[in-house]
């Protein structure tokens, strides 16, 4: 993870004590992360609560003792340089890292107060409630309609199969309603309503990404995780996605990883800054983080001196 910075194991966010400051290979002093910088007080309920989250990929310590609470129905931006662990963090929130065989995850992540890293957690239910949108648009090579209806169908909520049609139990109307609702929510309906049975791969990149968001909405999640959803898109498509995220935050809890600091400043309610080495350095109100950060390193990063 850290190409140019070696941090000793003691530099964990949760335990700032009187350890001598470890130095980078270049001899620079790395300031200690302080608890109060990440201790973000917000009004309302915490949708997700992460405590002392450590992630190793093999020998690589990707995330070091991260603790943060994510408030309900808001947009939380995760920013930081490449390889700082923010995507890893995001993928821990719906246990997508379980799919990486070399990953080892310690710590606690709670959704509505219920631990998701324990035996007996229903991953299907978890991922239905915590949906994810990926960096590059990845619609299935199916029709637009099938892309949206895929999740609910596989969960048995919609049955439009041959047998259901023969028994006159087909949910085709419910499916079409769902498709329209999700596409409207993802601000795509007007553009594709006349070609729902075309292959989704024929859409433009921005449309594909909004289709992926619509697909994510189809299983009615509570939290939506977005991993740099606009990084592969042009400015116009990016603006549409940003508007969409703004709308979504009225109903959903959105956590978004982004490289684009202007974007984070524009759309997020609170911002978490990860810096090289997999530490959460600062977490707080977006305005405060961008205008008046506690940490010097964060200030350097935001003003472009480091990263």
């Amino acid at each position: 993870m850290s190409e140019n910075t070696t941090t000793t194991p003691q530099t964990q966010t949760a335990q700032t004590d009187a350890d001598p400051s470890p130095t980078t290979t270049t001899g620079e002093t790395v300031e200690q992360t302080r608890d109060e910088w990440t201790d973000y007080e917000f009004r309302g309920e915490a949708k997700m609560a992460v405590e002392d989250l450590d992630v190793h990929y093999g020998d690589d310590h990707a995330l070091k003792g991260v603790s943060m609470e994510i408030p309900e129905e808001s947009v939380t931006a995760l920013i930081g340089p490449s390889g700082c662990g923010k995507s890893t963090y995001l993928r821990c929130l719906n246990r997508m890292n379980d799919r990486v065989s070399s990953a080892r995850i310690d710590g606690s992540v709670k959704l509505d107060g219920r631990e998701i890293y324990q035996d007996g957690v229903n991953l299907v239910e978890l991922r239905k409630r915590v949906g994810m949108v990926f960096q590059s648009p990845n619609p299935f090579p199916k029709t637009i309609r099938e892309n949206i209806a895929y999740g609910p169908k596989k969960h048995g909520d919609l049955d439009t199969g041959l047998l259901a049609r023969l028994l006159n139990r087909s949910d085709a109307d419910e499916r079409d309603d769902l498709v329209e609702r999700c596409l409207r929510d993802a601000a795509l309906w007007d553009e594709v309503s006349d070609r729902l049975d075309d292959n989704a791969l024929g859409l433009s990149g921005g449309q594909q990404q909004r289709l992926c968001i619509a697909r994510c909405l189809s299983v009615d999640p509570e939290v939506i995780l977005m991993d740099e959803p606009a990084s592969a898109l042009d400015p116009i498509a990016t603006a549409k996605i940003e508007d969409l995220i703004d709308d979504l935050s009225e109903e959903y809890t959105v956590v978004i990883v982004t490289h684009n600091m202007q974007q984070a400043a524009r759309i997020s309610d609170q911002t978490a800054v990860f810096l090289t080495g997999g530490e959460l350095v600062e977490y707080g109100d977006t305005d405060q983080v961008f205008e008046n950060p506690h940490s010097e390193r964060v200030e350097d990063y935001i003003t472009g001196k480091f990263g």
């Binding site: 991953l123 991922r127 895929y150 292959n199």
Partner: protein, 542 residues
């Protein structure tokens, strides 16, 4: 020769555009020579005869000489600045070796054979000639280097043909124990073919004005000729079999109602309005015309049986290896084993079937044993190609599906498999092409006899019998020995002269069998390609 001389003067005096046209004509001339050489090689053009009123060999020689002179003229013209070109300092090592190889052969043969100086002197002379050609290619500027040695090669070859040093009846006895000889029928087309390639390459370079663009043109011509000749060879092969096979196939064919045999489709008897005895009869003493129906039906059932056996097993194994098994020692071992199985000689599979399957299925050769043996042969290719196809399904699809909370098996079934299907089908197509033509395993596991009577036609569907006692279903047809087309062909060829007393004109019968085999295999291909097209379409254009 006069024509070539005129080319020369015109080239020297002309503008660039005309030069281009002449160089283009030279490239075209090479193509014509290439085609003539191929035609002569396949005896579609007689070397002893004449074309357009000129003896063939003389015509070839004249054209080669003209091409050679033109090529040299290009180079010289360019060197002395009469033609605007953009040559590199040297033609390069590859061009040097390319020019050296034919000159080694020419120098060696002339010294050792024509002049009779013996092998040792011949070898030295060959190497010396080659070295001169190499130096002549590499040392001068590119325009001379890539034209003069090759143009001289073309000129020498052409003059040898023109002057009749090597005529249509020329033979070179090699004096080996096997009584091998190089005949004019082989040497003239082959040397014309290679000379035409060299000439085409050199004149294409000239056409491009040498330099980078010239090299591009040269490579373009070579690649194009290569692709064309592959298509041409395929076409010639198919056409050859068709031409030879048609008479035997249509032997005794009749049209009209009631002429054909009666067959039943879903219980309804239908008399076919056409009778093609070769396709509709077996071999029997009282048949007017003999046929290979049992072998056709046997081949079709073999392939169907093998596919039904191998595809589910193979796709399942590939699924396990790509989606479930951790990548490690075990999957590597399985991978090596499947690759090894695919390259295992078919006779080994046949022997396995003979020793293992036959004693377990009624102790006699049977259709079922053949199906299983060929199924085993098909299995590794299905595993390999399915695995490749599944690995090439982007992980993004799996991630997207997992993020929606869809279980692994459902993801595989509704996302991975559909995306991998075209690749799987490609593998099955390739495999079917191989097993449908296999002779050895069939010989050992299911072949009944050389001349199979119509009564041995396997009626697999009609053969199912249902009983009230276990095992509830039986199919004696599957346990009967029958024939398949490749084996039938092999048996007919090895049956020797006696075959004619059984099947009439044995030669016609063999070619017709070969044609039917070809058509059956190509039909399987067509079905496979149509299936693949269907699945691809569903992925891309729905």
């Amino acid at each position: 020769m006069a024509g070539a001389g005129r080319t020369d003067t015109r080239l020297v005096e002309s503008e660039t555009t005309e030069t281009d046209a002449v160089a283009g004509v030279a490239v075209g001339l090479s193509a014509v020579l290439f085609a003539l050489a191929v035609a002569a090689l396949f005896e579609r053009v007689s070397l002893t005869g004449s074309l357009f009123g000129v003896p063939t060999v003389t015509l070839l020689g004249g054209l080669l000489t003209a091409l050679g002179v033109a090529v040299i003229a290009f180079g010289v013209g360019s060197r002395f600045g009469y033609v605007e070109t953009n040559p590199d300092p040297s033609a390069g090592l590859i061009a040097g070796f390319g020019a050296a190889v034919p000159w080694v052969l020419i120098g060696g043969s002339v010294a050792s054979q024509t002049l009779g100086l013996g092998v040792g002197v011949g070898a030295v002379a060959g190497v010396a000639t080659g070295a001169v050609a190499f130096a002549a290619s590499v040392l001068p500027r590119e325009d001379l280097g890539s034209t003069v040695p090759l143009g001289a090669l073309l000129g020498v070859t052409g003059l040898v043909f023109l002057t009749g040093v090597i005529g249509p009846t020329w033979v070179w006895e090699l004096g080996w124990a096997q009584q091998a000889a190089v005949t004019a029928e082989f040497l003239i087309p082959v040397s014309t073919l290679f000379s035409a390639l060299y000439g085409g390459w050199a004149s294409a370079k000239a056409y491009g004005g040498f330099g980078a663009r010239g090299r591009h043109m040269g490579a373009y011509v070579l690649v194009y000729v290569n692709a064309l000749s592959i298509v041409a060879f395929l076409f010639i092969l198919v056409a050859f079999v068709v031409v030879q096979g048609i008479p035997g196939l249509l032997n005794g064919t009749e049209f009209g109602f009631g002429t054909g045999p009666t067959t039943s489709v879903f219980g309804v008897s239908v008399a076919l309005p056409v009778s093609v005895p070769f396709l509709m009869n077996g071999v029997a003493l009282f048949n007017d015309f003999q046929g290979v129906l049992p072998a056709i039906v046997g081949t079709v059932w073999l392939v169907v049986g093998a596919v039904v056996l191998a595809v589910p097993l193979g796709v399942g194994a590939a699924l396990f290896l790509t989606e479930y098994a951790d990548r490690g020692r075990f999957t590597q071992v399985v991978e090596v084993a499947t690759n090894g199985l695919w390259s295992t000689p078919s006779i080994v599979f046949g022997l396995f079937g003979f020793a293992f399957l036959i004693p377990r299925f009624g102790n006699g050769k049977s259709l079922l044993s053949g199906m299983i043996t060929l199924g085993f042969m098909l299995l590794p290719l299905v595993v390999i190609t399915s695995r490749e196809a599944m690995l090439s399904v982007p992980d993004e699809y799996r991630d997207a599906s997992a993020a929606l909370g869809v279980s692994k098996w459902q993801t595989i079934r509704s996302v991975v498999l559909p995306a991998a299907l075209p690749g799987v089908v490609t593998g099955v197509i390739l495999g079917v092409g191989r097993i449908a033509g296999e002779t050895a395993p069939i010989l050992l596991t299911m072949a009944g006899g050389t001349f199979v009577p119509g009564s041995q036609t396997a009626d697999v569907i009609g053969g199912f019998q249902f009983t009230s006692a276990p095992p509830f279903v039986a199919n004696p047809e599957l346990l009967q020995a029958t024939s398949a087309l490749p084996y039938q062909l092999y048996a007919l060829i090895t049956a020797g002269v006696g075959a004619s007393s059984n099947v009439g004109n044995a030669d016609e019968f063999r070619w017709a069998t070969a044609l039917v085999l070809l058509v059956v295999v190509l039909s399987f291909y067509a079905i496979g390609i149509a299936t693949r097209y269907y699945f691809r379409r569903r992925l891309k254009h729905t």
